[in-house]
Symmetry: C2
Subunit: 299 residues, 2 copies
Amino acid sequence: MSLLVVGSVALDCVQTPQGSVRDSLGGSATYFSVSARLFSRVGMVAVVGRDFPEEHVQFLRSRGVDLSGMERREGKTFRWHGRYGQDLNDAKTLKTELNVFDAFRPSLPAAYRESQYLFLANIDPDLQVSVLEQVNGPRLVACDTMNYWIVSKPEALKRVLKRVHLFLANEAEAKQLAQEHNLLKAARALVRMGPSIVIIKRGEYGALLFKDEAVFWAPAYPLEAILDPTGAGDSFAGGFMGYLSARGTLGERDLRRALIYGSIMASFCVEDFGLGRLGSVRRHEIRERYALFRSLTRF
Amino acid sequence: MSLLVVGSVALDCVQTPQGSVRDSLGGSATYFSVSARLFSRVGMVAVVGRDFPEEHVQFLRSRGVDLSGMERREGKTFRWHGRYGQDLNDAKTLKTELNVFDAFRPSLPAAYRESQYLFLANIDPDLQVSVLEQVNGPRLVACDTMNYWIVSKPEALKRVLKRVHLFLANEAEAKQLAQEHNLLKAARALVRMGPSIVIIKRGEYGALLFKDEAVFWAPAYPLEAILDPTGAGDSFAGGFMGYLSARGTLGERDLRRALIYGSIMASFCVEDFGLGRLGSVRRHEIRERYALFRSLTRF
C-alpha cells in the first residue's frame, strides 16, 4: 500500500444552520481515504462495530478504498454528535462515544507495513504511535490531532510529534499546543517539537505551510454556501497526502501544490453534509477547481 | 492633484498587548496619505484644531503629502481612544471626540477639484458626499466606512454607496451591512447597492476583491509581531489607490496588483505603533516585500 491512514470510522450526528443529519458515515479515516483515493491507492486502519451498516462498507469499496485493515468487532461503532453555529469555523462536540475504539489495538496486515506515506489522523496519540511502530521506514509520516488530546494527553501527543515529519493542526489548536498567540511563532514552536513541516488550517481563511524559513499560503475557495464543515480537515489532509503519494517526490513545489490539492478537496467536502459532495467528486472537477485556485491568487 | 483623500487627522491613544501610545498622530486620512504617497502624489481634505502639534504638520510635509486642503480651526483636534486584546483583529473604541470634525464643511481648493482618484475614508457619510460633489468627474471613487455609520446613518451611507465605484469594508462590517453571513453572498449584496468593485479586508487573513464574477484573494504577510493594527485598513487603501493612481489604468491585472500593494502597506503599518514603521518605509522595501508576497502564494 503506498498510502496508509489510521483514524476513526464513525456514525455522525451533525447539526448546522443549514440542516442536520443522523448516523451519517463519517470519521477522520473515512474523509481522508475518500479524498486521497482520487489521487492514490489508500488503505485504512480502523475499527467498526456490529452495527456498522453494510451499505457504508459498500460505499467505501465503491470509492476504491482498501479495507483490509478495517476490523469489525463486537460492540457499537464510534459515534460523534456535533453542532455548528453561524460561525462555521468551530464545531461544538455534543457527545463522543468511543465504543469499539476504546480497546482497539490494531495489528497491521503485512501489505500495510511497507507503506511509504502514513497519515495518523485525529485519534488517541497512543494509537497513532502503535500504528507508526508497525510501519517499516515510511518516507513521510504526518499527523493531526484535536484540542481534546492536547488537554488530556499532552505528553503522549508530544511523543508522537517527535516521530513525525509533518504536523497539521487548526489555528486554535496550534496556538494552544504552542502556548503562543502569534501564528508564526506558534508554527516555529511546533517545529521545535519535532516535525520539520507544519501546516496550519484556518477553515474559510485557507491554510499555511511552514518549512524551514519558507511560508506558503493557500487560499480557501470562496463558496456561496457551506452546508457542513465536518471532515474538511481530513479531506484536506487526504488531498495533500494523496497528491504527494502519487507524485513520489517531496520538493518545495510538490508541497505547495499538495497544499492546493488539500484546499480543493476541503472545498468539495463542505459543499454538502457528510460525504454527499466529496463522495461523488470526479477527477476533471479537481482539475477545474485547480484552475480556479490559480486564478484566485494570480497577480 | 491625481489622488485625493477626505478623512480624519487625529490624535490617538492606543493600547495593545504589546504596549501603548498617547496623542500619537493618527486618523484615516493620515494613514492613507502616508501610504499612498509612496506611489503617487496625494492631497488631503481634513481639519485639525489649534492644539495640533506643528511637528505632525512637518512630518506630513516631510512625507510629501499635499496639505493645501487641511484646515486648521478653533477648537480641539479629533481624538480616538482604542484598545486591542490578544485577538488583534478587532479594536474596541473606548472614546471618540469629534471636536473640530463636528462642524466641518470642507470647501475644496481649486486644484483638488480635478482629482482623478478619490478616496472617501471612514468619516460621516454626509461629509463623504459633500467632498464627492466638489470633484469633477473623477475616474475612480472608493469609500470605506465603519460599524458606527452602518448603525447610526445607514441611509446616508447607502446614498454614498450608490455613487462610488469601489467599496472597502472589513469582514464583520460587510456582513453587517449586507445582513448576510456568507461572505460571497455579502459581497454580491454590496455590489447591488452600487459599487462595481468590493474589497473585503480580513486583517491577518488577507483581503478579497470581488468584481463581476471574478474573485481575487490577497494574503496577509505573516509577521512575527503585530504591535498595533491601528491604521492598517487605511494604509491598505493607500497602497491600493496610490498604485492605481500611479498606474493610470484599471484593468483586472492592475486591480490584482493594487490589492497586493495594499496588503504590503498594511503589513508595514502594523509592525509598529502609529506611523513608527509606515512613516519610514522606503520604495526598495516595498519591492522586496512584493517579491515575498509572490513567493507566499506561488504554486
